[in-house]
């Protein structure tokens, strides 16, 4: 009997033994793919995440290379626009910025959790700075386009399972400012062999712009003018940047990483930007696509100066645009005129779209210093005059004179805004943001009474996408736009 029992127990023990010894765990980690929770173990991997985030914003036929052709029609530079803003106008922008942010936040989390191996604290700080700058760039655009937006950082609990409400504009700017300040303090002034990467100068320039926007609509806090001026000034005094000698050379392909370009959306021949043909008229070489006709009223108001001819295509073969082009409008030269004929005809070009350049910083300084001081300072005039002088080809131009400290604060301010309109034309979405922060949409639409009839102060914000309003009831729509 005992024998039997022993035998039974012996046999029965075989089961748990064979089981436990060879039991494989149920948490099987992937062997051919990486997951977001173990990604980011080296600087290269972190930068791969940053690279992906920029890919969402800029690529062939998508991102800012594509969206700008139709969502900013209502400014005074693009021809067309009727101030009837459709409910889906902001959809692509919203989606691509948040796609970028998801990947940036994941990378920042990886750094925060100490996953990055084998790098000095300095490198890690610089890596963090890059991520924060990219995050600030995305939120800066989001807050200017939509106003209050859901604020997601690396600390936010999983948004896919925790619905979010819109955070106030003020809170978003608080994050933007703190991110850019960190970046300014921790990014190097330049990277060796990487002219396209953001630097401390990039951070300071963006910070200056952010401060300037905080000083105007919607926050309207004049204390920020001085901060904007200081930030812009530190960029000017760094000596890193300088204006290109002539307007004609600013957008030449060989100058895409010149001392004037602080940070751009980059392109290369194996990762091309959108086609140059989108910008060109159909009469140009083998034919453009008439995608960017310039508003004729805009052209009329532009006083004669070398810069106008450098930036706008006003005619062809001796004919003015009214007869040379089937659309009877001018075209902007910046992104197609200066590339080689062969590149244009083969439909390949690698032009960058500047996000911020030195001319912009000079103008920010001028505007901020003027406002902070209650009137133009000499430094303010000097800054803007660099731009004006270059625009005039370094000769006096009565139709486009240099500015002096004798001007009133308001007139100087108007002149700065007008200078921005010309200098930064079609480097979207700069003009749209200037119109919104200075609240001049009705003024610039004045030449078109039919358009003006559709104007309302609600037009300064894009609608929140219907898809998100449907899936997240905590989100509210911007006034004047439909809810699902």
């Amino acid at each position: 009997m005992k024998n039997n029992i022993r035998k039974i127990v012996g046999y029965l023990l075989i089961i748990p033994i064979t089981f436990v010894l060879s039991c494989k765990k149920l948490d099987v980690p992937p062997i051919s793919s990486v997951t977001s929770s173990n990604f980011g173990q080296s600087a290269t991997q972190i930068e791969a995440a940053y690279t992906a985030s920029m890919n969402f914003l800029w690529g062939r036929y998508y991102g800012y290379a594509d969206v700008i052709f139709y969502v900013f029609q209502n400014d005074d530079q693009w021809q067309g626009g009727n101030l009837v803003i459709p409910a889906n106008n902001g959809d692509l922008l919203w989606q691509m910025h948040y796609q970028a942010l998801t990947n940036i936040n994941n990378a920042l989390l990886a750094i925060k959790q100490g996953r990055v191996q084998g790098e000095t604290p300095q490198t890690i700080a610089a890596l963090t700075g890059e991520g924060k700058l990219l995050r600030a760039h995305n939120y800066f655009n989001l807050v200017r386009l939509f106003g209050d937006v859901p604020l997601i950082t690396e600390d936010t609990p999983d948004p896919a399972n925790n619905l979010m409400a819109r955070s106030s504009v003020k809170d978003v700017y608080t994050l933007i400012v703190s991110d850019l300040q960190y970046a300014a303090d921790n990014l190097p002034d330049s990277w060796s062999n990487a002219p396209g990467k953001p630097t401390s100068g990039t951070a300071k320039s963006l910070l200056a712009k952010a401060y300037l926007t905080m000083a105007t609509y919607p926050l309207n806090d004049p204390n920020y003018y001085q901060k904007a001026a200081d930030a812009a000034n530190s960029v000017i005094n760094s000596g890193t940047y300088a204006l290109t000698d002539s307007c004609v050379n600013v957008f030449k392909p060989e100058n895409k990483y010149s001392r004037e370009m602080i940070w751009s959306y980059n392109s290369t021949y194996d990762d091309r930007t959108s086609s140059a043909r989108s910008w060109a008229p159909s009469e140009w070489l083998t034919g453009g696509w008439d995608g960017a006709p310039v508003d004729t009223a805009f052209e009329h108001h532009w006083t004669a100066q070398p810069r106008k001819d450098a930036y706008l295509l006003l005619g062809l073969n001796g004919q003015p645009y009214t007869t040379a082009f089937v659309t009877a409008t001018p075209y902007v030269k910046k992104f197609f005129y200066y590339i080689t004929e062969s590149d244009f005809n083969k439909n390949q070009c690698a032009t960058n779209l500047p996000i911020i350049r030195y001319a912009d910083v000079l103008l920010i300084y001028a505007e901020a210093a003027n406002q902070a001081n209650g009137g133009p300072t000499q430094a303010a005039c000097d800054a803007i005059n660099l731009v004006i002088n270059r625009a005039n080809g370094y000769v006096p131009n009565a139709g486009h004179p240099l500015l002096t400290t004798r001007m009133s604060k308001q007139n100087f301010d108007n002149a700065v805004i007008q200078e921005r309109n010309w200098e930064l034309c079609f480097e979207q979405p700069d003009r749209w943001f200037d119109i919104c922060r200075k609240r001049i949409l009705d003024k610039v639409s004045a030449p078109y009474p039919q358009e003006l009839a559709n104007y309302s102060p609600n037009d300064y914000l894009f609608p929140i996408p219907q898809a998100d309003l449907k899936t997240d009831k905590l989100l509210t729509q911007n006034p004047g736009y439909p809810t699902p």
Binding site: N4, K7, Y11, L12, I14, I15, P16, T18, F19, S22, C23, K25, L26, D27, V28, P30, I31, S32, S33, V34, T35, S36, F39, Q45, E47, A49, T51, A52, S53, M54, N55, D91, Q95, Y98, Q99, L101, T102, N103, V149, P150, I152, P159, A160, L163, W191, N193, P195, G196, K197, Y257, S264, N266, S267, T268, D271, P465, A467, D468, T471, L475
Partner: protein, 1017 residues
Amino acid sequence: MAQKKLVNGVVFDESKVAIPGVTVVQKGTSTGTITDAKGQFSIQVTGKDASLIFSFVGYESKTVSVGDNATFEIKLKESNVELTDVVVVGYGSQKKSSLTGSISSIKGKDLTLLPVQQVSQALQGRSSGVMVLNTSGAPGSDAIIRIRGMNSVNGGNAALIVIDGLQGGTLNSLNPNDIESIEILKDASATAIYGSRGANGVILITTKKGKKGKPMINYDLIIGNQTLRHKIDLMNAGDYARSMNKYRATQDGAGTPPPVFTDGQIVAFDKNGGTDWQNEIFRNAPIQNHQLTVSGATDNVDYLVSGGFVDQQGILINSLYKRYSLRTNLGTEITKKIHFDLYYFGSIENGNVQLVGASMTPFIGGPLSQSLSSALVFYPTLPPYDSNGKYSAAMPGVGPSSSWNPLASAKEPQIANSTVQNNVNANLDFKILKGLTLRITGGAFIRNIKNKSYYNGNTMEGQASALGVGIATYESVLSFNLQNSNILTYDRLFGSKHHLVATVVGEQQYGRNESLSLTASRFAVDLTGANDLGGASQLNSKSSNASERVLNSYLGRVNYTYDDKYLATFSYRGDGSSVFGANNKWGYFPSMSVAWRLSQESFIKELKLFSDLKLRASIGITGNQGIAPYQTLANMVSGANYPYNGRANTDIGFQIANVANPNLKWESTKQTDIGLDFGVYNGRLTLSADYYNKTTSDLLLSKVIPLYTGFTSMLSNVGSIENKGFELALGGDPFVGKFSWNSNFVISFNKNKVLDLGDVTELDFVGSLGGMDIGSGFMQLRVGRSFGEMYGYGFKGIWKTSEAAQAAAYGQLPGTIRWNDANNDGKIDANDIIPIGNSQPKFIFGWNNRFAYGNFDLSVFIQGTQGNQVFNESRIVAESQYAGTSTRLLDSWTPTHENTNVPGYINGSTWNSHPELVSTISLGGDAQRSQRWVEDASYVRVKNITLGYTLPSNLLEKYGISRVKVYGSATNMFTITKYTGYDPEVSSFNDNDAQIGIDLGTYPTAKTITFGINLTF
């Protein structure tokens, strides 16, 4: 002193035929004898009150008391084999009479009646509730098998295949000859024991083992010939030329254009008929199948070794399938209490069928580059080779000018697909105590696939360019599944009435899958292709992948029978799987069933009517794992590149591909089933009927999430689908005796309905390849409707001259297509898209008949479907006016021939003369999603007729041969159907069950005539 008496007699069966070999034993003694060849016996019985017991396999034993008699005539009754049959169930076996679940059982010998090469083909029409769809006639192709309808959208609907207890096998590599029996588990009570993998039904395969008795050597040979079953009716060269000219003449908007073919050419075409491209690419294809099996058993060892060779050429030129297989099933009694089995199966399959239908990958030029599609539209007026000896090229500007020579597309691609399958299985059985057994099993499926192809300069894909020639693909997959099951079974009869069987199992499974795929092009030399990828100057794509999965399970089952009358089964399984999300790693699947054997009740026995009468009911929950490994995690993928550094070359970007969902879990199916089994006339007529109701919920579908998460959707468990149905299996022996007829009929009805799709009300599926003018969402799943729904524009015929005014309202002329204005708004646009067809049948059936007379036997197997439709996409180009080859074009509308469904040829100038006609028809790129191409694909097919003759045994005894049978067989010979394509049993798009029902360039079915010989030594 014991009395001794000599008793003798004869034993007959019910038809008065003497039975030799019957055992005659005096009850209570060891005195016994057996009947001789004439059924006679003689035995000395001792003592008073002696009784004799007569017993023989297959007959009910009879006990007779001797009394005063000395001579007996004993009639033995055949025992109802059905009821004592043992049926394999999950983790064990049961007598058929004590089953409480819904299980179909198919004996191996019934499978081999049909000369098939694939097990899946053999299953068709044999079991109620099982649909087998042969989507393609290509040799070696697999069939789609669905048990009781389709449950899932994204999780897969294939049944679990269990081979000798090893889960997760494939049917195709198996040799049908090796199979002892197939059990198909259908309801929850039978399938819940497989837990998270049982929702789609389970197919249990048990292979043969050596049987006691003298060793047997079996040799089977089948040789035969296959031909194209049905040819599409296409025009000859003369009619085609006239048709092309007729079309060209309609392009007269700016003056009369010159005709495509001159009268002289047409006269020549009429004389020589032109090229019949179907004849060029199809051929008679031989098939041969050799099987050799050696098996036997001694007291301690049983063995079965079988080898097989199949060589099947395909009816499309340059296509074939070969399979070499070897099986050794060994068993040995190590001691009285320990038994060991070892099964090994290995097979090598080589095939070279090219990608057809919708499996054509993007690099292949689409339908027009692929021979089966282009043969239907290529110019009959062109010879296969031109005057330079090169393949004729398409005529520019006429007809399908971007298509490729069908003969070249069939002949030139070099394809080598090979699969090596190794199945190993070992069991160790311990008899621990009386009634308590432990089985420890270990097994592995190892599968190695290597597919190579090279499309050389004579194909459209590989045609020469300035940079090189040819395109090659190389794909390699290694997958293996390991399994260890430890099964403890306790089987005990308490008293005489309580029978309890309890089973407890602990099981673990591990699977690993590795794949590599390369595509390279622009070779300098047009020869070596995939065997020398270094010769390619461009690597088009490269990818590799590896994944693992783990499944740990605990399960138990209790069967309780009271007095052989009242039966109950309860089972429970817990599955812990690595593919489930972190918060839902373990799933639990219970089931319960009861049955009442009315035939054992005295009030039924008194009726003397039923040999079997059973009522059963079951309910339970099963699951479908459905989730791919790592799908619950947020995976990173490469590809989002951008020149972040601003250098001359772009930088690699890695992005998060999907949102993590730690809550993701299996799809869950709740099924109830009630069934009735009865047998009358002593089992000569049996019936088994089931009604079932299944609801599958927690479907794996995309749930829409806010865009600010960085994604648009997340894979979640939302949505549900319902399947309700009725199955019937009738079996009968209308005739027994010298002439016998055994008949089996199965019929299944299934109604499928989508109940919920989560956030959306419809899901779109691709129904076409580019360029066919069918937009997305041709096949759709909609809430409230079933799988297989086609959405498009209704077709109401052709406008007649008498309807000119109505036609004008749409801007049309008589002779053009009359679309269905579904919403009656005077326009034909996207709002008029309605359901135009459904590929799900109302019912499917199979009818098997076996007639035997003396040494002859005849089997006739009929199967079919009713109520299903197929979208015949191949007709779109074949019946177009600009490129049409179909003879239907000869029936086109003219003012004097209005009774037709083929639009007329209307000149551009005629349109120009009606400037008042303003078209309200805007179909966009969707003009061909028309009901015109939807056809009824119901069919009844005499699938197989086999006539066999077994040589009389006395002729062969002296040669040592115990049995020889010769037979002739015809497969797919007769089909009744209205479908005009190659075969009504077809499906080209099969990635998702929602796409089934479209015919575009699929490999046609063959009809086969074979002769076979069966030798047993």
